[in-house]
């Protein structure tokens, strides 16, 4: 329990009258890959958006590395090392790949460290280096996802929230992205992975939670979830 890097307790979030999260509790231990599954509209993105501070919860609490961040503004949460790669990538189209990456290290003052992180990103994604001065609007979907992940690495994350990184990608690219997630995890980054693609996510996760209309309906270690055909059929649509 004490090794939990992220602890969510009874979290509720509204959009006006829409009750998107109806009391969610879970935790992520340092070094783990945890996946949040569920159908479209279940509340996965809302969970991540509430954790990263993009939207305010109406009740409940979020603790990151022991500190209560429930009411902290998003830009301060980032400085603690909790980085959210949002649904749809949200890269800065119209700016170059290099500029996108530099913005990932906005809070960093140390130029040498910026260069070091940039080299690390380019080592993992050589394709980004080749095109670093090109407008990011012209990247393919897979490359945009790589840029979004690369940009988050520029912030030197301790915990990475990834919202459907496989969305809209061809199967071989999905495999590519999943390999990178595992690599980042081995390098010490804790991962909270939101996916609709349950099969793919449960393959690399340690633990999983299934969301349905703003509630957690199933939780367990990934292997159990993977092997329980009825769960996969009932909630994960395959």
């Amino acid at each position: 329990m004490s090794s939990a890097i992220l602890e969510i307790d009874n979290l509720e979030t509204h959009y006006g009258k829409i009750h998107a999260l109806r009391g969610i509790s879970f935790s992520v231990k340092a070094g783990e890959i945890v996946t949040l599954l569920g159908a479209n509209g279940a509340g996965k993105s809302s969970t991540l958006r509430t954790i990263s501070g993009l939207i305010r919860s109406t009740s409940g609490s979020i603790r990151f590395m022991g500190e209560d961040i429930t009411r902290k503004p998003a830009h301060d949460i980032v400085k603690m090392g909790l980085i959210h790669v949002p649904e749809g990538r949200k890269i800065f189209k119209g700016m170059t790949i290099l500029e996108n990456l530099e913005l990932g290290s906005f809070t960093l003052e140390d130029e040498a460290e910026r260069k070091r992180r940039l080299d690390h990103v380019f080592e993992i994604f050589p394709v980004l280096e080749e095109r670093k001065n090109r407008d990011s609007a012209f990247l393919s979907g897979g490359e945009q996802q790589m840029l979004a992940i690369g940009r988050s690495m520029m912030t030197d994350p301790k915990l990475l929230l990834l919202d459907e990184p496989s969305m809209g990608l061809a199967p071989f690219l999905v495999q590519e992205i999943m390999k990178i997630i595992v690599r980042l995890n081995r390098e010490g980054v804790t991962i909270l992975l939101v996916e609709q693609n349950a099969k793919v996510a449960l393959k690399l996760a340690d633990n999983g939670y299934v969301l349905e209309t703003g509630r957690i309906v199933i939780e367990g270690d990934a292997q159990t979830l993977r092997e329980d055909e009825s769960i996969v059929k009932a909630y994960l649509g395959e």
Binding site: V78, K90, F92, M95, L103
Partner: protein, 304 residues
């Protein structure tokens, strides 16, 4: 004068006029880019810039005179003061309206415009103030065309400010953040960018550029008036739309283009100086019909 001389003379006039338009258009476009607000008070901040510059110059001229040194010092001080006023207006009037319907913030901007111009009218009794300076009439002759040093310094100062802005926006982290916010605010927050701080910075820079144009115009034309910001506000808006609203190079280009078009336009037979404004707004209408996104604008366009 030969036809070349006339064209050259109009080129010089057009560049000066265009520099003023460009400096004001930049603020319009930057604020629009970042919070999608057409800041109707922007022309009034240009006017306030002229008046505050005038005040600084009256205080400073016994010490450092009212030639270039005095004017440039007053300009810098006025830019800082008006820049801060711009930030204050943003905080008090616009910030609370950001989540309200688009029309509310537009009406707020109109109200701010009226408050500013009426305040200055009340203080000055609606009179013209003579902006007396000691700039001299020396200059250089190019063929039959005479360009004063004043004109050269004005265009030079405008070019310097715009180059500075360009470098800031492309080379510094804050400048890049400013462009990024115009693209996606939420993504910026996820990079640790304090969005409200960058918005304040944008207002500061945009309004101080307008103030610089205000004091330069005051010194160049020799008088200032509470209403001086109205037409140039509209012209600068036109320039920003011509260049593609939201685009910084577009505002520079649109401003210079509009200045040149107006100044050459007065040379077309039957279109005298009095038709100048009809000419610019005619161009705006044509552009809105044929290329609504402007010369350098992005293709998606939002309805106001």
């Amino acid at each position: 004068m030969s036809i070349q001389d006339i064209l050259l003379q109009q080129l010089a006039n057009g560049l000066i006029l265009g520099s003023f338009y460009a400096l004001v258009a930049l603020g319009y476009t930057m604020v629009y880019g970042i919070i999608k607000l057409l800041n109707f008070a922007h022309g009034d901040l240009y006017m306030i810039g002229a008046f505050i510059g005038f005040l600084f110059l009256s205080v400073l001229s016994p010490l450092i005179g009212d030639s270039w040194v005095g004017i440039l010092c007053s300009m810098v001080l006025s830019m800082i003061a008006v820049g801060l006023l711009g930030v204050l207006i943003q905080r008090i009037a616009y910030q609370p309206m950001l989540s309200a319907p688009r029309l509310s913030i537009l009406i707020t901007a109109l109200a701010v415009s009226m408050i500013l111009s009426n305040a200055v009218m009340a203080f000055t009794d609606g009179e013209y103030l003579a902006f007396s300076t000691d700039l001299g009439y020396e200059g250089l002759e190019f063929g039959n065309v005479f360009v004063t040093y004043t004109q050269m310094v004005l265009v030079g100062a405008a070019a310097l400010l715009m180059t500075g802005l360009y470098l800031f926006v492309h080379r510094t982290m804050y400048g890049k953040a400013m462009r990024a916010i115009a693209i996606d605010q939420d993504a910026c927050r996820l990079m640790g960018i304090h969005v409200n701080r960058i918005i304040a910075l944008t207002f500061f820079i945009g309004t101080s550029l307008a103030a610089s144009a205000g004091i330069m115009a005051g010194a160049y034309y020799g008088s200032i008036h509470f209403f001086m910001g109205f037409v140039i506000g509209l012209k600068a808006f036109t320039a920003a739309v011509i260049g593609g609203i939201g685009s910084i190079p577009g505002a520079m280009l649109g401003g210079l283009l509009l200045g040149l078009l107006e100044s050459f336009g007065t040379q077309i037979p039957f279109i005298g100086t009095e038709w100048k404004d009809v000419f610019s707004f005619g161009i705006l209408i044509l552009l809105l019909v044929f290329k609504p996104t402007g010369i350098l604008g992005r293709t998606e366009i939002e309805r106001m």
